[in-house]
Symmetry: C2
Subunit: 342 residues, 2 copies
C-alpha cells in the first residue's frame, strides 16, 4: 500500500513568538498539556505574554536540551508570520532543528528558511499539507481494533475525548495509539494526516493508512472530524468513518448547543439519530460497529447541571456518559472492554 | 459566494493525435456524439486510426472554421504526451486557440506550450484541476430545481443518463442545464467542476456553486459520481448529494453487475437500499428529496432480456424504468413533471 503519514521527531520545543494573549497560543498550550514528556521547553520572544509553565529556552538552549523539532504553537495576529519570528525559525533550522507548523503559508515560502534548513540539515514540516501518494480506499479488512470519536457538531470535544480515551487505555496497560486527523492532533501525536486537506478521491484511503494492520488486541483511537449531519463537512466525516472501519465509536456532544455552530438553519441532531446514522454508514466496512459511550462537554455548567445532564444522557442511551476532561474516560473504557474482551 | 467553475469557449476541434484504437479516444468520440453542434471538426495526425465522422482539419483549417478551443480527446499509450502531439498543441495555442485537456500532467508542463499560449493569447485549461477559491458548503437553500443521478456503482451509466435526461427536457422546451462533475462531462458541457479532485473540506461548497440559484422552473441535471455504498469513493457521492440539495434523483444501475467493480468483497447494494440511503442523507439539505426513476444499462442484453429486466425493476420500485440510451429518458421526465408540476 502506498502513502505514509506525516511524522516528526521528538522531543520538541514550543515556539510562542511574542503573542500576548493565550487565545492565540491554544495549539502550543494544548501540546504542553497533552505531551509534557516530549516537551523540553518553550521559546518566547521579548514581549510574549503567554507562559506554558515549562522551561524558558533560547535556540541554543533548546538544542542543548535535546530538541529535535521546533513547533510553532501560536498564530500571529493577521495570519502572516512576522519577520522577527522567521528569524528565530531560521536560527533553529540552521543548527539542525526541524521546524513544524500548521500555518496558512508554506514554511518553504518564508524568507531564508529553506536556505537555513538546507544548511542545517533540518526538515520543514507543514502539518496542514498531506503527503503525496495517498491511495484510494480498498475497504480491505485490517487486523487490530479501532475506536472512532464522532460528534453532533464540529468543535465539540472530539480531539480531547480521543486523547482522554487513549490516555485511560495506556494507564491500564492496554495497547493503544492516538491517531490524529487534524493539525493540532498531529502536533500532539507527532504524526497523523490532516484529512480535511486531502483530495476527495483519496480520503478513505488516507483514513486506511492512518490506522494500519496491527496486533489483534491493539486499539487505534482515531480522532473524529466534522459531523454526519453537518451541511459543510459531512463528507470528511463519512470518508473517515468508512476508511477507519471502527469496531466502536464514542459520541461527543456539547449539551448547551442547539444548532450546528455557524450554520444556524441546521439543528443539532439527536444523539439517537447520530448513533443510528453512524452505525448504518459504518456497517459498510465493519458490520460489528457499535456505540460504547457518550462524551459530554460540561465545562460551562455548574456541578448540579453537570450531574443532571450526564444522568439524563446515560439513561436515554443506556450507555456510559462522562465528561472525559473532568471525570476521565474510565466508564467508557470499561464498557469497551466488556463489549470487546481481549 | 466565492469560487467559479471551469469554463471554456466553443466551438471546439477535437484532437485525436495518432492513436490507432477507439478505446484510447473515448473522450473525444463522446464529445462529438453529445455536442455535435459545438464541434467544427477533428484534428488527426498521420497514422491516426480513429475517425469521429466530422470534418478532418489541420490547425489553420480549425482556426478558419472558427475553433476557439482544441480539446485533447484521446489518451496516449503510457500516459505521457508524445512530442509530436505537443508540437500540434503549440501550433494551435500560438494562433490563439485555447487548449483543453484532462491529462495526468499539467498542460503548463509540456515543453514550449506555455510560451506558445502566451504568444497567441491562448488559455491552457486542465479539466482535472479544480479552480482556486472554492468555498465551504453553506447548506443555504437555493432557488430553482435540481435532479441528481446516483448509482449502485461507479461507471454504470450516470454521465450518459444525465445527458439523456437533459436532452429530453430541452427537446420538450423545458429549462434545463447539464451540470458536469467529471472530466469527460466537463468537456461535453464546456464547463463544470472535477469533484473528485477537490480538497475534501470544499466538496459540498464546490457542489453548491456548480448548481447556483436559478429560475423557479429551471432544472439543473447534475452528473453523479461514485456510489453511497462504495468503500473507496462514497465520500465524493455524499458531498455531491448534500451540496447539490436535489429535489429528485434517478438511480443508475447495471443489472449484470453483482459486486462493486474492482472491490470484489463488496456486493452491489439493492436499488431499494440505495433509494433509502440517498433519501436519508439527501434530506439534510432538501427534505422533499425523492426518486423519480431507474436508468438501466442493458447494452449487453438481448431484446427479451432487456424487456424482462426493465419490467422487473419498474414493478419492484413502482417507478419508471428505462435504458435511457436505447429508449430515451421520456418516461422519467414524465414522472418528474408529475411530481414537480411547473
Amino acid at each position: 500500500m502506498s502513502g505514509t503519514t506525516i511524522e516528526f521527531a521528538t522531543p520538541f520545543v514550543v515556539f510562542f513568538g511574542d503573542i500576548d494573549d493565550e487565545s492565540w497560543g491554544k495549539t502550543g498550550l494544548g501540546l504542553v498539556q497533552w505531551r509534557p514528556e516530549a516537551c523540553v521547553g518553550q521559546l518566547r520572544l521579548p514581549g510574549c505574554g503567554v507562559d506554558a509553565g515549562v522551561p524558558k529556552l533560547d535556540v541554543p538552549g533548546a538544542k542543548s536540551a535535546g530538541a529535535r523539532s521546533l513547533i510553532v504553537g501560536s498564530a500571529a495576529v493577521g495570519g502572516g508570520v512576522p519577520d522577527h519570528w522567521v528569524a528565530t525559525l531560521c536560527e533553529a533550522a540552521a543548527i539542525g532543528i526541524d521546524i513544524v507548523a500548521g500555518l496558512h503559508v508554506r514554511l518553504e515560502s518564508l524568507p531564508g528558511l529553506h536556505e537555513a534548513a538546507t544548511r542545517g540539515g533540518a526538515r520543514l514540516i507543514d502539518v496542514r499539507v498531506p503527503p503525496p501518494g495517498l491511495p484510494v480506499g480498498t475497504g480491505r479488512k485490517r487486523s487490530g481494533r479501532r475506536l472512532l470519536t464522532v460528534g453532533t457538531d464540529c468543535a465539540c470535544g472530539k480531539k480531547y475525548t480521543t486523547l482522554a480515551l487513549d490516555r485511560e487505555m495506556r494507564a491500564r496497560g492496554l495497547k493503544s495509539d492516538f491517531r490524529a486527523t487534524g493539525q493540532t492532533g498531529i502536533m500532539i501525536a507527532g504524526r497523523g494526516l490532516p484529512l480535511d486537506a486531502v483530495v476527495s478521491d483519496f480520503l478513505t484511503g488516507a483514513a486506511e493508512i492512518l490506522s494500519p494492520d496491527n496486533e489483534p488486541d491493539h486499539w487505534d483511537i482515531v480522532e473524529g472530524q466534522g459531523s454526519l449531519f453537518h451541511p459543510g463537512y459531512l463528507q470528511v466525516t463519512v470518508g473517515l468513518l468508512v476508511g477507519s472501519q471502527p469496531d466502536a465509536f464514542v459520541v461527543c456532544h456539547d449539551p448547551l448547543r442547539t444548532e450546528i455552530s455557524g450554520w444556524p438553519d441546521y439543528p443539532l441532531p439527536s444523539i439517537g439519530a447520530l448513533i443510528e446514522r453512524t452505525t448504518a454508514i459504518g456497517s459498510l466496512t465493519n458490520t460489528g460497529i457499535r456505540c460504547v459511550g457518550i462524551a459530554l462537554n460540561t465545562s460551562k455548567m455548574t456541578a448540579a447541571e453537570r450531574s443532571a445532564v450526564i444522568d439524563r444522557y446515560a439513561r436515554e442511551t443506556g450507555l456510559p456518559a462522562v465528561d472525559p476532561i473532568i471525570d476521565g474516560a474510565g466508564p467508557i473504557i470499561d464498557r469497551l472492554m466488556q463489549e470487546f474482551p481481549a
